[in-house]
Symmetry: C2
Subunit: 281 residues, 2 copies
């Protein structure tokens, strides 16, 4: 049995992704209010595994979550790419015209912006979580309020679905990272081939230095699957890069890190893991 | 006199950045509800200039705004890096303990998350704009509601400032891009040295191809100041890159584009412009 800490309540996309990642195993969800709380849960119970969204095809990267992984030093065990499809859910017996307030997580609200524009008189209220927004409506019997959430959350909390697939872009995927203490990560990765890695590093001077680093990685047949620079304000000539790489040969990958070390500073390996699966469209 | 369309109302950071960019000139702000509306305003009045946030040091890139620039084909005239410092503002005569609801733009709410955690009983409500959130409180005489906005907005709408500098990270800068029709951009850039460019391209295969592109740019002394990959879901082997580059020699930069063309596809130049100034910390 896996205990997995997620940001959000039962029916949250984090929980759905956790169940998909650990398909065939029993999963107990540990709901947390914030991403930070996931790390607190793991400190209290070192057997708990964490799962955290890291990027979304519409909203982009969650830079704060990269920072949390970096500072908390819990290695990544794996990744899962979850299709995100939202519905509008409310207490039974209401039509869409009865809705005066729509509540959800800010990212979900942003992903449904075109749909929300069709409801100009509705007040849009932030909630810390898509599933907890649905739960609140059920618990507090909020007539006239609808949540943007997963159909799973609507079912769990007994809400009627007023509209389905309301996300603007149907190619809406969130990539989740699964992480935990070293011994659990080793156990999860047992018999798996590690062919991906997430690293963070700083390039001291901009003059062609990133291209040198990428050239060296390429000589070792290490390929980029994601790159994002982060401006370091106040340190005008330094850039921090979040890079995801893929490789066929783990030893070659290790050698490539040795080869780029002299060209970079502050190298942090957030984890080596097998490339993840993707849920169906 | 410059007519500048912004997302938000008077006192919004977009307007403050517009005034800083056109320092010494008279600026008339054209408030718009959404970023899309800026382009609609320019279609109606081709002399209007647009300004749009493109990245923030805390929240990351606004990928949707890159997309808007790409599809609307209005060239970039310049950039401005605006320090963003939020305050909590409410109707006069109230203390922070009287506040039951805090309203602002989702990005501003995210930037003040640590401050908001100190007010656990307060309901957080999304607004389409920081300045309009302040205006609403004044217009509708909303007792018990506070806005997260600029001190400028608090002053314009006659609100009391209950807390200043409430953003979590003080190195909170937003980079704004200024754009418009070709002839206006040419006029704005008259006598300016163009040493920066924002480009978007697709790399057909991942095997070392980005490193080749960056190597070629480096041979031409063209340097990266920002890079961000965007996964193209459904086109597993293609990656789109948003890249900002800097150069000393415009002709060399043009040659470098010719040199990378065979290695990439879908190259779009969002604009050549002079590197922008930055507001004080």
């Amino acid at each position: 049995m896996r205990k997995v800490a997620i940001q959000g309540g039962l029916g949250a996309y984090h929980g759905i992704a956790a169940e998909n990642f650990f398909v065939g195993e029993e999963v107990e969800i540990v709901p947390c209010i914030t991403f930070k709380d996931i790390f607190t849960s793991i400190k209290k119970d070192p057997n708990i595994i964490g799962i955290m969204a890291i990027e979304n095809t519409i909203a982009g990267s969650l830079l704060q979550n990269y920072e949390l992984l970096k500072t908390n030093k819990l290695p990544i065990a794996g990744e899962y790419k979850q299709r995100v499809s939202h519905c509008l859910a409310a207490l039974p017996g209401q039509s869409i015209h009865d809705i005066k307030e729509v509540t959800s997580h800010p990212i979900a609200l942003m992903q449904c912006v075109d749909f929300l524009e069709t409801l100009p008189k509705v007040k849009v209220v932030e909630h810390e979580d898509t599933a907890l927004a649905a739960k609140d409506i059920a618990d507090k019997n909020l007539v006239g309020t609808a949540a943007i959430c997963s159909t799973r959350a609507a079912e769990i909390y007994g809400l009627d679905i007023l509209a389905r697939g309301i996300e603007t872009n149907k190619h809406n995927f969130t990539r989740f990272l699964i992480f935990g203490n070293r011994w659990i990560v080793d156990e999860i990765q047992k018999d798996e081939v590690l062919n991906k890695s997430s690293i963070v590093f700083t390039v001291p001077h901009s003059e062609g230095s990133l291209s040198q680093v990428l050239s060296v990685l390429s000589f070792y047949h290490v390929n980029l699957t994601k790159i994002q620079s982060l401006p370091i304000i106040g340190r005008e000539w330094e850039y921090q890069f979040y890079v995801d790489i893929k490789f066929d040969n783990y030893e070659r990958y290790q050698q490539s890190l040795t080869a780029i070390r002299p060209l970079i500073s502050d190298l942090k390996i957030l984890g080596d893991y097998p490339e993840g699966r993707q849920s169906e469209l």
